[in-house]
């Protein structure tokens, strides 16, 4: 299956697999919730700076760029499929439906961009099972918040690992993900910008969170 290939290719040192093993016993929602709010206590810049350098893998270069873009593509495939599925299921209405349509178009544009950037290195889309979250408006809203906040943390975590030209491209996507996150948060009455500094997450943390949703079919 494509996602196994992806994981094998990306996970050269076994860090992702290790992280996945660690979270296997956690429940899906509680893990995801923990993963998303874990960075929320970061309030002061000093703390932030103290934590950041650990995110860097090694010197940026074309091979590392490609691995990171493939990682981003997996996330964008997931988001695009989630919104497209939710719109087609017909359970959304009002501004939530409008949000899903607009954001779905953005995520599909991100997928197209990343596939083009990767060329023949681009992996095919996995297949997904959204476990009912695209068929119920409240579940959709809650899941969209988690997905968008996770997208922001993923891009912020990878930024320093990219070469400068690729960083510039990623930078034009991350702020759009942050806009999505704030938008859906405001729709449901949650604080659109809950902290002064957005947390960053490592690839292993993000993949573990995504895997724990069970949305990517094995």
């Amino acid at each position: 299956m494509p996602e196994h290939l992806t994981l094998e290719v990306v996970d050269q040192d076994g860090a992702i697999r290790e992280a996945l093993d660690e979270v296997q016993s956690s429940s899906r929602m509680s893990f995801l919730k923990q993963a998303v709010v874990a960075g929320g206590t970061i309030a002061a810049g000093g703390v932030l700076l103290g934590g950041m350098p650990k995110l860097a893998l090694s010197a940026p270069g074309p091979a590392q760029d490609a691995a990171i873009l493939k990682f981003a593509l997996t996330l964008e495939y997931l988001e695009a499929a989630f919104y497209t599925d939710a719109v087609s299921k017909g359970a959304l209405r009002g501004e939530t439906l409008q949000f899903a349509r607009v954001v779905g178009a953005h995520e599909r544009a991100h997928v197209a961009f990343l596939k083009k950037a990767l060329g023949s290195k681009a992996q095919p889309s996995p297949t997904f099972d959204f476990k009912g979250t695209t068929e119920d408006m409240a579940k959709f809203q809650a899941t969209a918040i988690v997905l968008e906040d996770t997208g922001v943390a993923a891009y912020n975590g990878q930024g320093p690992n990219l070469t400068k030209p690729t960083l510039a491209a990623a930078g034009s996507i991350v702020s759009v993900e942050a806009r999505h996150a704030a938008w859906i948060r405001d729709i449901v009455g949650k604080n659109p910008a809950p902290v002064a500094f957005d947390p960053a997450k490592t690839k292993a943390q993000i993949l573990a969170a995504v895997n724990a949703t069970g949305f990517i079919k094995a």
Binding site: A43, A44, G45, G46, L48, L49, G50, M52, P53, L55, A56, V102, V103, A105, H106, A109, H110, F113, V152, Y155, N156, G159, P160, K164, P165, L167, A168, G171, S172, I173, V174, S175, V176, E177, A178, R179, H180, A181, A182, W183, D186, I187, N191, P192, A193, V195, A196, F197, D198, P199, A200
Partner: protein, 232 residues
């Protein structure tokens, strides 16, 4: 004022003062632009050592310049929201937005000042021309400021040398985007109007900021050597 002390401490050889004197009668646009350019070459990385986690990492003059550019934008935003809340013209979600965002922008200022140490530029004087005293004007202005902040950070991030500084800038960048989407939502404007946000160069941003005429001058200088400069 602490920023005056900072200036005196930093400006050992009078380079900043000289620059400021040279541009005292310039337009606001000219001032902002030149103060940015001036700061880049003045101070070495020593001041950043305390703030940046890795002691082996000295900030480059380039990074100091970028951080000071960001600091000027954050000073402006922090002052704008703090003043708007104090003026009492805001209500409802707009007031919530202003309070929370003011807090964030002040946190960004604190962070940047700490990171820059004595290399931090002083806070300019502002005149928000009524936009903090009227809810409709405030909402429109906040949207422009936040969208501008997003474009500014997007433009500067790929130019940053040090990874720790880049990581911090990215964590601020996406917060500015959240603010922008939030105020756009309040304003019934599309919170995420395009799939790819466009970056802007420092020059483009400075021109836009100058166009607002919100920055009215530099802090008055009480020179340690007794030589008066000018008052803002």
């Amino acid at each position: 004022m602490s920023e005056l002390l900072t200036l005196d401490e930093v400006d050992r050889d009078g380079a900043i003062r000289e620059t400021m004197a040279a541009i005292a009668d310039d337009s606001r646009a000219g001032f902002l632009k030149r103060s940015m350019l001036a700061t880049g070459g003045i101070v070495g990385g020593g001041a950043l050592l305390a703030a940046i986690a890795s002691p082996a990492q000295a900030a480059t003059a380039n990074d100091v310049s970028i951080l000071n550019f960001a600091l000027t934008l954050e000073y402006l935003e922090a002052e704008f929201y703090t003043e708007a809340v104090a003026m009492g013209a805001l209500s409802g979600e707009v007031l919530d937005f202003a309070r929370i965002v003011a807090q964030h922008e002040r946190a960004h200022v604190s962070f940047l000042k700490k990171a820059l140490g004595t290399a931090a530029v002083p806070k300019p004087f502002f005149n928000f021309r009524g936009t903090t005293e009227n809810q409709a004007k405030f909402k429109a202005t906040a949207q422009v400021l936040e969208d501008t902040g997003v474009m500014a950070y997007a433009g500067q991030a790929p130019l940053i040398d040090a990874n720790a500084i880049l990581a911090a800038a990215l964590s601020v960048h996406s917060i500015e985007a959240r603010h922008a989407a939030w105020i756009r939502h309040i304003n019934n404007a599309p919170p995420a109007p395009v799939a790819f946000d466009k970056p802007k160069t420092k020059q483009q941003i400075l021109t836009a900021v100058a166009g607002t005429q919100f920055i009215t001058g530099t802090p008055a200088m009480t020179a340690s050597g007794g030589s008066p400069a000018f008052t803002g």
